[in-house]
Symmetry: C2
């Protein structure tokens, strides 16, 4: 069994980006800029935003964190987005979800210029993903494909089974992996809670992507020996032995399944770090296109 | 075995739309308007456009067919689209594909106002389809779901296997059918030419959608008894006994597979007539929204 080390891959990507950004700076005197907007004081969101900010600093992306108060109106937020849409020094705009109740998420996502949609959630970006050539790939699914690439696991012609159909992971991962392209071209099944017996599907997987948000749901008897397991789950479960009183586990029962899998991602340290790496990559991509168009 | 009669269902839908359009006219004095643009003289396209125009006339949609010469430039076509985008009497714009070589299809599709994108091919519309609530569903996949509805075949919890991953049928049909919604909520597999043995997947189908464009590809031994078969293929094969010298066949070997299927669509007369019916439905939907916003 080979452990897919997302932390290592993410760190490699960051080194590559750092070099690229530095070379571009030497040539143009410019750096990529990302703004992350957070509304209110959700503690989990604050951790995510801090991690993104820190990662930007590591690679040389100018990152601005805009903290707006909990009571911000939708109109105020849209106004800010419109200012960032117009700002030539900002190449990526990310609004940290969830948002307070008075703000409609879908309206906010649609307000971001698709040319700066580094999260890949705008319907226009998602549509381009279906058609096959998006400017920005959604970060988590792109991170999964990148892990497969770096471990030379080619999904072409293989059966990828995805458990979960979220807009953030399940559906876009399916779309990425079924395209007639390199490191894609897979037969893809999307299964979910409506299945009478989900193990009928998971047992067929050459590559299993678990993304339904149920702690340790995938057990050994639900997979076939030699399966490649990508665990997108990050569930907090109580654990009195830790300082925080909880620990993170995936949607896969790692202890059991790792005994039969050929490759498996741990939680934490698997897909998680890749999401930020791909966000940085998207921001640099956006930056490079503005340079090219200058 | 029950034959799914797309011609009958399409005709029912047209009668319903005719009544609805007439009632709306009596209330508002207005009728829906569709423009169909055709560039050049592709004989197959001319037949399609004529059929659409005729169907519009049957239900009371004002339909304009704009025939542009083969040598039309992309700029000229985009100019026309921009005029129709601005025209309040036009509720749907359809550009018949394929287009001559000098015109880039993707640029043309993107130029159509997503609010008038009754074909459902604009990336914004496609993205909304992924997320789950598109203004316009792409016509052929929507026609498939409508056939299932009218024959009371609920895909919820069942395994839908789609052969083919085109942007027009395979991918959007998968997206429609996997949503957590009524007459959807299926476990969906998209398979295609990269599969070593495609029958491994087709044999599992509770509902099989054949949309790869290979005449009579699906044979009896590739399906399980009782399968529901939706055949999207329309392939011309030579037939000296017909006046035209050819006849239409589907991607399914109808003679063989109809002996084991529980439901099956014929070709012609199955999915084909539904595509136009859904185009009319989308046009009426667009019209109704403009009335509501008046």
């Amino acid at each position: 069994m080979i452990l897919i080390d997302g932390k290592k891959v993410s760190s490699d990507i960051k080194s590559e980006l750092k070099e690229e950004i530095s070379a571009l700076y030497n040539k143009t005197g410019k750096s990529p800029g990302l703004v992350v907007i957070i509304v209110g004081n959700n503690p989990a969101s604050e951790v995510y935003v801090r991690n993104k900010h820190k990662a930007c600093g590591e690679v040389g992306i100018n990152s601005t964190v805009l903290n707006l108060p909990e009571e911000t109106t939708q109109g105020e937020l849209l106004q800010k987005i419109s200012e960032f849409n117009a700002d030539p020094n900002i190449h990526g705009i990310l609004v940290q979800l969830p948002l307070p109740k008075q703000i409609e998420e879908s309206a906010v996502i649609r307000a971001i210029d698709p040319g700066k949609d580094v999260d890949g959630f705008h319907p226009y970006t998602v549509g381009e993903l279906v058609i096959g050539d998006p400017k920005f790939q959604p970060c988590t699914p792109a991170g999964i494909v990148e892990l497969l690439k770096r471990y030379d696991i080619d999904p072409s012609g293989r059966h990828v089974v995805i458990v979960g159909r979220s807009n953030i992971v399940g559906k876009p991962a399916a779309l990425l992996l079924m395209q007639k392209k390199k490191f894609a071209n897979a037969i893809v099944t999307v299964c979910h809670s409506a299945a009478k017996d989900i193990s009928v599907f998971t047992k067929q997987a050459d590559i299993l992507i678990a993304a339904m948000g149920v702690p340790k749901f995938i057990k050994k008897e639900m997979v076939k020996p030699g399966v490649v397991v990508i665990d997108v789950g990050t569930n907090r479960i109580e654990d009195a032995t830790t300082k925080s009183g909880y620990r993170l586990v995936g949607d896969v029962d790692f202890e059991e399944v790792s005994t039969v899998a050929s490759y498996i991602t741990p939680v934490p340290g698997g897909v998680g770090p890749m999401t930020i790496a791909m966000l940085l990559k998207n921001t640099v991509k956006s930056f490079k296109e503005t340079i090219r168009n200058d």
